[in-house]
Symmetry: C2
């Protein structure tokens, strides 16, 4: 829905609620896609959100809306929805969405709601809640289409025609053996095209790309993206088919992981903790600890600079070149860190040939450092000659700045290359290296290199 | 494919080629998924890549491999593939993949290859090449399943059963009128479940979410993500159905857009220009211009600091607090810029109520600035008292540092909030604000505020 169309929808919802024109509100709500309704909720008060939700025609449609809401909006809203209503909605939701809502609730309320559910739903929901929150198990739906391998194409089509299944996904049809193990996959199209008497096992594809219930959702997303899949079967224990992860959930995973990476690189906390519409006190509390790295490295930087204060006392121009030094070395290091981190994320790094990557980045650092070191040296020479008219001072000063910039940029490039690779090997998130702590540490290291070098040259 | 499995594959391919065991190589290649083969290409020499490609069983499978390669690997490889071979492969590729390969080629060769294609393929390829490279038109496939609205469910199933179509996607079935306009959508499952005599128009969904050929790929991706679609029809002119964008291509778009955003925030150039395995000279040439912003702001910073050199001459400790000031103000500004940019990207910003967002971030800036300004002031007081033993100096100095940190952080927060919103309104990319130019500019502005304030307080 276009931004303009959404504005119109929000304002008509507000107007209809204010004027208490409920029949018209019902009509508007009924003909609007639940994703569009959900997108409006950010602009409505909690009271208005509740009114809209109550006039959605079915519990299933209400569930669709809840599953589309951002965590921060969802948690405020469901605080106000009575248990009976919420449990009716939850019973109509696919189990991955139930899981999403239950995770937002506090433990007491979620236990209470689980008890109110039908036995079948309850056992499904509890079993899914038992999986790690970022795993395939937590992401999967348990309503999928699977047939025994001896079933014929005709029988399979008949089952689908009768609509006996309530599976969400019917483009892939999974094939199992006597004990529920996944043995193959085919598609609704294949089943329709094959002779009706042919058993599924005769035309299924036996090599099914699959994941385990505890596979991390990022790895699930990589498989789906790599093999262009629409859904991925999830197995447990001895290859028993227990669920299916669908591509729409994978898109959400990819978008949210990218989001998390960017927030991490900015030192801005986690996605679920951050919202432009949240109470600023809470936002500040989330952001404050991430700023501590700036304070910490800043204090170290202060000690480093103060250590060389006799030098700065003699030549205050040295301090004037600090912003230039910081900007260049930080940026060249961030370039390397980001390029290497993204190459890792996109699966382009071959860990057997790391030396090549590091060597190449070393050359890049040398070239970039050389070019900007030279320019910075020229700027330093001209400016210091202009202010002091001493050729001798201008030349040693230019040499100090030049040398400092080259070395600091080289060290920063290497740190930006090697650290993400080490982080990946140590099973830490390499995106952390692109974050503010790295940038501020580079400031401090650059200042130490620069002043140390200047001290050696200027004597 | 797991990293270990991929290593094994790479080393057996290398070994088989070295030993010239071609029958075995053919067997390995034939049983490996094209996505897995493509993933190996980065670790093979061009010669090895060519050998593998020649032993892939069909041109269609060769096409699959080419379409999975990263641009930098693809462009090196196809330089070495003779025109006749390449044109045979291109004829077997879906048109969106043909498009991807042709865009990597230089214009002369791509024109030559286009001429060698069959007429039908040629006109498809040229018409797609005519669309903007980031538009729905360039992303769509033109082989899709569409029936006239008067066709019955039974007839539709029969056409599919006969396999007459070569459409890639057969979960959605699009419905058109006499003049090819898109009037509805249904699914293969619906068609199988409905009575055979029922015309498609009687059970199709008439409100089809669609895009135009010139819709930007980011907007296409947003629609697919929002409405959980598996494919999205593309129309041209007066609503004429001309193609379909499938979800697997959307996943690529989302991953690449996220990648581009991160590279932009690091000032590291565009995705297609950057590869850890490319020649370092070329990589350096790509990165050098992005570092210029650091030089530029660095020179301005030098002038600003030098302007207050009389102050620094008197109290060199002021310079020692520059890294702390820079780290804190840059980071708090980057937090705001990233949070606001991501909120825009995720569609959470309501442009009618911008004041609220800005006000909230102002409060956040005030809180964060206040907390860290206080701590920085305490550090300044203790350290300066420790080094000079003068209570008077320590207190005015602490006041200068404190005031400078608070004001610089507040200004940085506001700039980080307002600039992405303005960029979005001016139709520029808000992610640019998270980039190095912003960070370095914040250094300069912070230095000016800090030294100006110190000068006022210290007299």
């Amino acid at each position: 829905m276009e931004r303009e169309a959404q504005k119109v929808l929000v304002s008509s919802i507000r107007r209809l609620i204010r004027a208490e024109q409920i029949p018209q509100l019902k009509r508007v709500v009924a003909k609007t896609h639940s994703a569009d309704l959900a997108a409006c909720f950010g602009a409505l008060t909690i009271g208005q959100q509740l009114t809209v939700l109550r006039h959605v025609p079915t519990d299933a449609a209400r569930g669709d809306i809840l599953s589309e809401l951002e965590p921060s909006i969802l948690s405020n809203l469901i605080e106000e929805v009575p248990d009976t209503e919420l449990s009716a909605i939850l019973s109509e939701m696919p189990n991955d969405d139930t899981n999403y809502v239950l995770q937002v609730l506090d433990d007491d309320r979620s236990a209470l709601l689980l008890e109110a559910m039908s036995d079948e739903h309850q056992s499904e929901a509890t079993s899914i809640l038992a999986y790690e929150s970022d795993s395939a198990g937590a992401l999967m739906v348990t309503d999928f289409l699977a047939f025994h391998q001896e079933v014929t194409a005709g029988e399979a089509v008949r089952v689908i025609q009768e609509g006996a299944d309530d599976a969400e996904i019917v483009f892939y049809i999974y094939v199992t053996n006597e004990i529920g193990q996944l043995v193959g996959v085919t598609s609704l199209r294949e089943v329709v095209q094959q002779p009706t008497k042919k058993a599924l096992k005769e035309f299924m594809i036996p090599d099914v790309i699959r994941v385990n219930v505890d596979t991390d959702q990022e790895d699930v997303a990589k498989l789906v993206a790599k093999y262009n899949l629409l859904a991925l079967p999830v197995v447990e224990g001895a290859n028993e088919l227990v669920g299916v992860v669908t591509v729409d959930d994978i898109i959400d995973v990819i978008r949210h992981e990218a989001n998390e990476d960017m927030l991490r690189m900015a030192g801005a906390g986690h996605e679920q903790d951050i919202s432009v519409y949240r109470n600023p006190w809470e936002n500040a509390r989330t952001r404050l600890p991430w700023l501590a790295s700036g304070l910490l490295t800043g204090v170290v930087g202060m000690l480093v600079i103060h250590m060389w204060s006799h030098l700065l006392d003699r030549l205050i121009l040295l301090a004037a070149f600090l912003p230039l030094l910081f900007a260049l070395s930080r940026n060249v290091g961030l370039q390397s860190a980001t390029i290497v981190t993204r190459a890792i994320a996109m699966g382009q790094i071959e860990f057997g040939r790391l030396g090549r990557v590091v060597l190449r980045e070393f050359v890049v650092g040398l070239i970039c450092g050389g070019v900007y070191g030279l320019v910075a040296g020229l700027v330093a020479a001209s400016y210091s000659f202009y202010t002091t008219s001493s050729v001798e001072l201008a030349s040693v000063f230019a040499l100090s700045v030049s040398g400092g910039v080259v070395s600091a940029m080289l060290v920063s490039t290497l740190a930006g290359t090697v650290l993400p690779l080490l982080f990946e090997r140590w099973k830490l998130d390499p995106a952390t290296v692109g974050g503010p702590f790295f940038a501020s540490s580079m400031d401090v290291i650059s200042a130490a290199i620069y002043l140390g070098m200047a001290s050696a040259i200027l004597g």
